[in-house]
């Protein structure tokens, strides 16, 4: 029986011309490498020049009813906000979500690639891929590009036969199974709120509100996070988007402006 070992193949990029004009989807895209003496220096320069979009807060946690996933929607290029409406929760398939933190293009491309691999697995094996398997596929790819400057900090959240699953995968090649994660420049703030309010036996509404608040607080304090706080729930029947709220409006919902009593009122001075 021929085993499918494409996931184990060395995915190091090939030297020489890429075959983009070829038909069909090859197992792994091959990348052109610049012909420089100092690869790392060139990559650093290219990144500074090109300023790929990044900056973010994302979080996900497992609780009694399933997995809750939330993220902001701001992308910054240096100090410029390049977008306030980036989709950072990526729908890999109807029962698995991925979050985006780090380089926007890196996350978008590799999540799309992961979605394709998951679908191929389904077709080849006549059953859905597990969260463990999907996260391992992604982690192996990212590990093979370790040191080349990819910036990906993602969480794979889903529901498979073993129940709810949550993995953290990053571009250093790390892969961690866990029940509570937050990734991105705003993650310290999100962790503060999340860790404080977390209980395993929350209802879906309570968990969604906790996730929303954690993202809101992160966008409040982190300059690189903002936009719209999206909250998704992954249950036994797949994922469902629960809410998308502008964090500016959430602020006034949580902290409404109250008319306050004045002690001394300033009076307009008549013009001389």
């Amino acid at each position: 029986m021929k085993l499918d070992t494409s996931g184990l193949e060395s995915t190091a990029p090939f030297f020489g011309s890429s075959h983009e004009l070829n038909d069909g989807f090859s197992a792994v895209p091959s990348f052109e490498i610049p012909d420089t003496i100092d690869f790392d220096g060139f990559q650093k320069e290219a990144v500074q020049m090109v300023k790929p979009a990044k900056g973010t807060t994302t979080l996900a946690f497992i609780f009694k009813e399933g997995v809750m996933v939330a993220a902001d929607s701001r992308a910054s290029m240096g100090g410029y906000i390049s977008s306030q409406s980036v989709k950072k929760i990526i729908e890999i398939n109807p029962y698995m979500l991925g979050t985006m933190a780090g380089g926007a293009a890196d996350c978008q491309f590799w999540h799309r690639n992961l979605g394709i691999k998951c679908r191929l697995h389904e077709l080849a094996n006549k059953s859905r891929i597990s969260v463990t398997g999907a996260s391992k596929l992604l982690a192996n790819i990212l590990f093979s590009y370790r040191g080349m400057g990819l910036s990906v900090g993602t969480m794979i959240a889903g529901w498979d036969e073993t129940g709810p699953g949550l993995y953290y995968v990053d571009s250093e090649g790390g892969r961690l199974k866990g029940t509570r994660f937050s990734v991105g420049s705003g993650s310290p703030y999100a962790y503060g709120v999340l860790d404080n309010g977390y209980r395993y036996d929350m209802s879906i509404e309570e968990a969604a509100e906790l996730a929303r608040r954690a993202i809101y607080h992160a966008t409040f304090r982190d300059a690189a996070s903002g936009g719209v706080a999206s909250v998704y729930y992954v249950g036994p029947n797949g994922w469902k988007k629960l809410s998308g709220d502008d964090v500016g409006e959430l602020h006034y919902e949580y902290y409404p402006v109250l008319p306050s009593t004045v002690e001394q009122e300033m009076v307009e001075v008549a013009a001389a």
């Binding site: 983009e20 052109e32 090109v50 929607s73 293009a105 978008q108 719209v228 809410s243 502008d246």
Partner: protein, 223 residues
């Protein structure tokens, strides 16, 4: 032995700005025609806009040699698509193709900042905005290039539409009419030309709608 430094850079920035605005049944894509290198103006009459398909137009600023290479690649891929599928590529399909094409050069990027504008299969305007390595997003309007930091806040002020991420969802397409959108674009470039040295000379506007593609030009300050 001290580390060897490169004595040349494969990149240059030819400046310029691009804008695209999507409407209910039209799309406006515009760019100035100045091409510069450092403080020199190389030409006042260079088009940054390229028609990729019948309903799909791309405007790119940055390093025009990389832009030219990118346009050629996309045109070739589109031709293959037409041979294989016997139809033109839709704008959303071209948008993803551009994203993948940019990402394939992730380790030696195209120094090209693109906006893609066109009509989707229902005839509604759509605009896609990119960063240099392929991350993309469908938006109601966008600007890229040296004048984008001047242009974008103004477009936000005039056209800011509800985010597509909001739930319940609200429509993102601008409520302006086609002629209002064209006037807005002319105003925007006139302003950007005042404060950005790399933007000016002439404005090229491409308007896509159900009738087809139309081109308009407007003179800008040449200083």
């Amino acid at each position: 032995m001290t580390k060897q430094q490169a004595n040349w850079s494969p990149y240059d920035n030819n400046g310029g700005s691009c804008v695209a605005v999507a409407g209910a049944d039209y799309c406006v894509v515009a760019a100035d025609t100045r091409m510069s290198s450092g403080y020199n103006i190389l030409t006042r009459d260079y088009s940054k806009i390229c028609k990729l398909a019948d309903k799909c137009v791309m405007a790119s600023s940055g390093f025009q040699a990389d832009v030219k290479a990118l346009q050629k690649l996309l045109a070739a891929r589109h031709l293959i698509y037409q041979h294989q599928h016997n139809k033109q590529m839709s704008c959303p399909a071209m948008a993803q193709l551009l994203s993948n094409t940019l990402y394939y050069k992730r380790f030696f990027p195209y120094y090209s900042f693109n906006v893609l504008g066109g009509l989707d299969s229902e005839g509604k305007g759509c605009v896609f905005t990119y960063d240099a390595v392929g991350s993309y997003e469908k938006v109601g309007y966008s600007s890229q290039g040296s004048g984008s930091t001047l242009i974008m806040p103004f477009l936000d002020n005039q056209l800011k539409s509800p985010s597509p991420l909001l739930l319940p969802a609200l429509d993102a397409v601008t409520p302006l009419s086609e002629s209002e959108a064209v006037d807005l674009v002319k105003t925007v470039f006139a302003s950007a030309t005042e404060r950005d040295i790399y933007t000016g000379d002439k404005l090229e506007i491409v308007i896509l709608n159900a009738e087809g593609i139309r081109r308009e030009y407007m003179e800008l300050r040449k200083d």
